[in-house]
């Protein structure tokens, strides 16, 4: 056995000290480390297999550093990710602002991919691009393949309010209303969780959901007969720009 095969790339994003590392630590090692806070340097990767019925799905979790210093690097972590767990600290409203920033980044990244795909679609004059078709017959070089592959695998966002135990202990500490967070999650099409790495509350549920969603999507991906119609996206920026000249 050499390197572990990873099924789904998961990236943890959020302001520093919101508790990303603690979440991973709780989920992977079932523990909560007390003692002085150690900020992550760069990013840490850990692969975690998870049993879903008969199947085992291995999550490759990227725990990124929240420090602004590494912001430029973060793109390489969320590129190609199937899930982004965007964390904020329930007791710190500035961290919620930062979470909004990350959501925007993720959405921008997806938009770019859609646009690239749209342009490709026009250049190459593909009428309908079926998933099965391109998987077997695209040999326009690895880059194109990667772009198409990445584009068809959407990155799902999971919004996660952390340190729930602090709120349970003292309600006045809550700085982000439950419903505000819930509404925001709905608006961006995300799942919403409130967790505590200290008590373990909701942590397994969060990662389990990530793995399940991946598994369901992968199932659809393989069995879908109709394929993906790329021509549907007519309102994009590139569409108008291409048709103006």
């Amino acid at each position: 056995m050499s390197t572990i095969r990873v099924d789904a790339k998961v990236v943890m994003l959020g302001k520093e000290s919101v508790g990303k590392t603690s979440l991973v630590e709780r989920y992977v090692h079932h523990r909560f480390l007390v003692g002085p806070y150690q900020n992550t340097i760069g990013a840490a990767f850990v692969a975690k297999p998870i049993q879903l019925g008969e199947k085992v799905v291995t999550l490759g979790i990227w725990d990124t550093a929240g420090s602004e210093r590494y912001e430029a690097m973060s793109r390489i972590y969320y590129r190609g990710a199937r899930a982004a767990i965007v964390c904020y600290d329930l007791t710190d409203s500035s961290s919620f602002q930062r979470a909004r920033f990350w959501v925007k980044e993720l959405q921008n990244c997806e938009e770019v991919i859609e646009q690239v795909l749209y342009v490709l679609y026009h250049i190459l004059k593909w009428e309908t691009l079926k998933v099965g078709f391109f998987l077997s017959s695209v040999n326009n070089g690895p880059r194109l393949h990667t772009i198409l592959f990445v584009a068809l695998q959407q990155c799902k966002i999971y919004l996660c309010g952390t340190k729930n135990d602090l709120i349970t202990a003292d309600r006045s500490l809550r700085q982000i209303d439950y419903h505000d967070a819930q509404d925001f999650a709905e608006e961006i099409g995300a799942q919403y969780f409130e967790t505590s790495s200290k008590t373990g509350n909701n942590v397994d549920e969060l990662f389990h959901k990530v793995a399940e969603d991946y598994n369901n999507a992968a199932f659809q991906f393989m069995s879908e007969e109709s394929g993906v119609d790329l021509g549907q996206k007519k309102d994009s920026y590139f569409y108008s720009c291409c048709h103006n000249n």
Binding site: S2, T3, E16, T21, V24, E25, V28, H29, P36, Q38, N39, T40, I41, G42, A43, A44, F45, V46, I61, D63, A65, G66, S67, E68, R69, Y70, M73, I76
Partner: protein
């Protein structure tokens, strides 16, 4: 200063002069230590892995040249008043001490307090616009007025076409290092020379560059002169704190060298060749550490690692437990290699509770999985061999006691082989177990070191008696040696101990040093 200092190098060199010969056979047979670089005990047989083993000179040369051209300004009358604010004759602006922001790190301290002022060594970093970036003690916010004074000093002297280098007053030294776009200031109550203090500031400068690159620093300040750099450095202060702590404690930083895990030659060779086999296209350095000790280092052909860069890597790894969780992947600038860009380091421990940490340095930021694969291959290869067990055994005694050398009056020593850039030193003996005593001994070594590296009158040989210990320092083209003896010994005894010690090191050299570094 008590004791005596003389330039005795000539006499001593004659006494032990060995034939200048780099042949391997000769070197192994001859018990007499060579005095020429490349033949001393611990010398490397092929090319070393460090870029410039000249060390100290290399580090301060830049700053010195500048000073020589521009002249040194000390104690100008007009600065006296402002200086007092720095060294704390008067109370430091109290209203500022109150608005220390509550979320600032735990080293909160009342800046107007006696305790704050009595720290032995303060270090401040500020931008050229005078914005605080780092302070060793207390919080930067509370210091802004002090920083203002420092900037006033710096710009006052700069406008005179001079660069202010140091101010001496009242048992206190203030040292300035202008490294555009940063200004570093050290305020010291120790006996260290300006040159030593400057060297430490330089280290702090490199620490900051290693986090951001100089290119990024310049870019930021070109766009916005009064940018608050703490935003980008947030969460890294402890790296600088730890580096300063190491500068007080770690002989490696003093000697510009690193020390190795004592390991039998054959075991080290297996580890090295396993590491060598796990190569990849963009891999530049593979470093295996056991705590702060080097187990082995493999480098790309023609690429050298500078000891400062290695110290920065060690500081990064040693300061953070965050690499214990999974595999770390971080951009890191190695400023002595190139201040412009980032390398990307894969950092992981070989086993979860182990001290063995592997650092794979790649040029490509997309290389994580390749590096992860290299680690896997290295580990697979190594675990199949008995050498791995021997290596883990060796971790249990990462040092040796001075008794093993068999010189009764010898208490402790530092020996650096110049050509390899490696040093060896026994563990601190019973007498120097406490933190204070260790720091005191390091202080004595620092003092010897600055005499041997005095910018105007460097000594080759230095013997000094105090009522607590006798000290001897000796530098040749091949090595640097610092010894600490019991105060009862004589100088003659010390000199003869040196010969005995050098023979012992020669005998043990394949265990204590890495004699044949590998390239991919």
């Amino acid at each position: 200063m008590d004791g005596e200092a003389q330039n005795e190098s000539v006499a001593c060199e004659k006494a032990t002069l060995a034939p200048v010969d780099r042949l391997r056979s000769n070197r192994a047979e001859s018990p007499t230590p060579g005095l020429v670089e490349g033949t001393e005990p611990g010398a490397v047989q092929k090319s070393a892995f460090f870029a410039h083993a000249q060390s100290f000179e290399d580090l301060t040369a830049e700053a010195e040249e500048k000073a020589e051209q521009e002249g040194v300004v000390e104690d100008s009358g007009q600065t006296e008043d402002e200086l007092q604010v720095l060294v704390g004759e008067r109370t430091i602006t109290e209203q500022h001490a109150q608005d220390v922001s509550p979320q600032s790190r735990s080293k909160e301290e009342d800046m107007s307090s006696e305790a704050w002022r009595s720290h032995r060594k303060h270090v401040f970093v500020l931008s050229e616009a005078g914005k605080p970036i780092y302070t060793r003690y207390g919080s930067e916010e509370a210091l802004s007025s002090t920083m203002g004074v420092m900037m006033a000093l710096v710009s006052f002297v700069e406008s005179d076409k001079n660069t202010i280098r140091s101010i001496h007053a009242d048992g206190c030294k203030v040292i300035f290092l202008a490294k555009s776009p940063l200004v570093l200031v050290g305020v010291s109550q120790t006996y260290q020379s300006d040159k030593e203090l400057l060297r430490e500031l330089q280290y702090i400068y490199y620490q900051i560059v290693s986090l951001l690159t100089l290119t990024q620093l310049n870019h930021i300040f070109q766009n916005k002169q009064n940018y608050d750099l703490r935003r980008l450095l947030a969460g890294s202060e402890y790296l600088t704190d730890n580096l300063l702590h190491r500068l007080d404690r770690d002989p490696g930083l003093l000697l510009s060298a690193v020390t190795c895990l004592p390991l039998s030659n054959s075991v080290r060779d297996v580890v090295s060749s396993s590491l060598q086999a796990a190569k990849a296209k963009n891999l530049v350095f593979s470093i295996l550490l056991a705590g702060d000790r080097l187990v082995t280092l493999v480098r790309k052909k023609d690429q050298f690692l500078h000891h400062i860069d290695l110290h920065l890597v060690m500081n990064l790894v040693g300061s953070s437990s965050s690499f214990r969780e999974g595999e770390g992947w971080t951009p890191i600038c190695l400023p002595k290699f190139n201040t412009a860009g980032f390398f990307h380091a894969h950092i992981s421990y070989l086993e979860s509770a182990s001290d063995l940490c592997l650092i794979l340095v790649s040029t490509d930021r997309e290389d994580f999985f390749n590096m992860s694969d290299c680690k896997q291959r290295f580990l697979e290869r190594l675990t199949k061999r008995t050498a791995y067990q021997a290596l883990k055994e060796a971790l249990k005694c990462p040092s040796y006691s001075v008794e093993q050398v068999g010189i009764p009056e010898l208490r402790h020593f530092l020996y650096k082989s110049k050509s390899s850039g490696l040093y060896t030193s026994p563990e601190f003996p019973e007498l120097y177990q406490s933190d204070e005593e260790q720091e005191r001994l390091m202080g004595l070594y620092q003092d010897l070191h600055s005499h041997l590296h005095h910018p105007v009158r460097p000594l080759r040989f230095f013997y000094r008696c105090t009522n607590k210990e006798n000290l001897l320092a000796w530098v040749t083209n091949g090595f640097q040696l610092y010894l600490c003896f019991s105060p009862l010994g004589t100088k003659a005894m010390a000199v003869s101990a040196v010969n005995k010690l050098l023979k012992w090191i020669r005998k043990e050299e394949d265990r204590l040093f890495i004699l044949s570094p590998l390239t991919y």
